[in-house]
């Protein structure tokens, strides 16, 4: 169990370093919903760094998990429409809030933004409540 915590912290530091890298090299926030929205809104004219970031996330996400035998483990007890609904809610919510776990959590808290602390406290609380209702009520 202790090993898991060390590995988890190490992975977290790497995520943080990716955000630091993006700020240092491009002057940009590593907020994944914001980066994706920039592509969805601009289409063919999307900024090249955004395309690069998503290609790296998608491509290396697969390669690294394949090579280290870390395939995704998903709950198998959910009906298909819940995945679609969850995606819709996450898409609408992150656009309204101008950020998701990475934008508000990793980057926003890192620059001590009050908006981000507020957003993180709310989405954490609601997510915890949602799981509680789904599992225990």
């Amino acid at each position: 169990m202790m090993d898991n915590w060390i590995v988890a912290s190490g992975g977290g530091v790497l995520i943080g370093l990716a955000a630091v890298w993006l700020l240092w090299s491009l002057g940009r926030m590593a907020g994944v919903s914001g980066i994706l929205n920039g592509i969805l809104d601009a289409g063919k004219h999307a900024e090249k760094w955004r395309i690069g970031f998503v290609l790296g996330l998608v491509g290396v996400g697969f390669l690294f998990s394949y090579l280290t035998h870390n395939q995704p483990i998903l709950p198998s007890d959910k009906p298909w429409w819940q995945w679609l609904l969850a995606g819709l809610l996450v898409g609408i919510g992150s656009r309204l809030a101008n950020g998701c776990t990475s934008g508000h959590g990793v980057c926003g808290l890192g620059r001590r933004a009050k908006r981000s602390l507020f957003a993180v406290l709310i989405f954490m609380s609601v997510a915890i409540l949602t799981v509680w209702i789904g599992r225990h009520v």
Binding site: L14, A19, W21, V32, A97, V126, I128
Partner: protein, 135 residues
């Protein structure tokens, strides 16, 4: 290859390795983490802790520079006010995150496994993002 494309690619790749390494690409683990009143698995608190500790420590050092390697200036979010739009957005986001255990980055990192559930989530994510306008 253009520099900004390459720098973005490097950033996305580091991000992906961090996500896979830390277990964030396993929605089962996320739901166990959110289940604080049941079988709570605190592992993912260390992921967010490690990531935020890193940005808290290094962002100020980076921002002490006049400008980034590429580009004229640092582009930071301009909004500072806490309003209803932020609150409702975060709440709706939290609801979706709690239902599936997925937020945008891990779902994208899992895309090429071509799992039906992940693809459905991403379709929803794109449609949901396009239904709301920036403000």
């Amino acid at each position: 290859m253009r520099k900004d494309f390459l720098f973005g690619l490097i950033g996305g790749s580091m991000f992906a390795i961090g996500l896979v390494f830390s277990g964030m690409t396993k929605p089962n683990l996320i739901i166990d983490f959110l289940d604080v009143m049941g079988k709570w698995n605190p592992q993912l608190a260390f992921v967010l802790g490690g990531a935020v500790a890193t940005t808290l420590l290094l962002f100020p050092l980076v921002l002490r520079q006049k400008k980034p390697l590429v580009g004229e200036k640092f582009i930071l979010p301009s909004k500072t006010n806490i309003d209803a739009r932020l609150g409702w957005g975060a709440a709706i986001f939290g609801l979706g995150w709690g239902v599936a255990g997925y937020c945008p980055a891990p779902a994208l990192a899992n895309l090429l496994w071509l799992d039906g559930a992940t693809c459905l989530f991403l379709v929803g994510l794109v449609v949901g993002s396009l239904t709301v306008k920036n403000r």
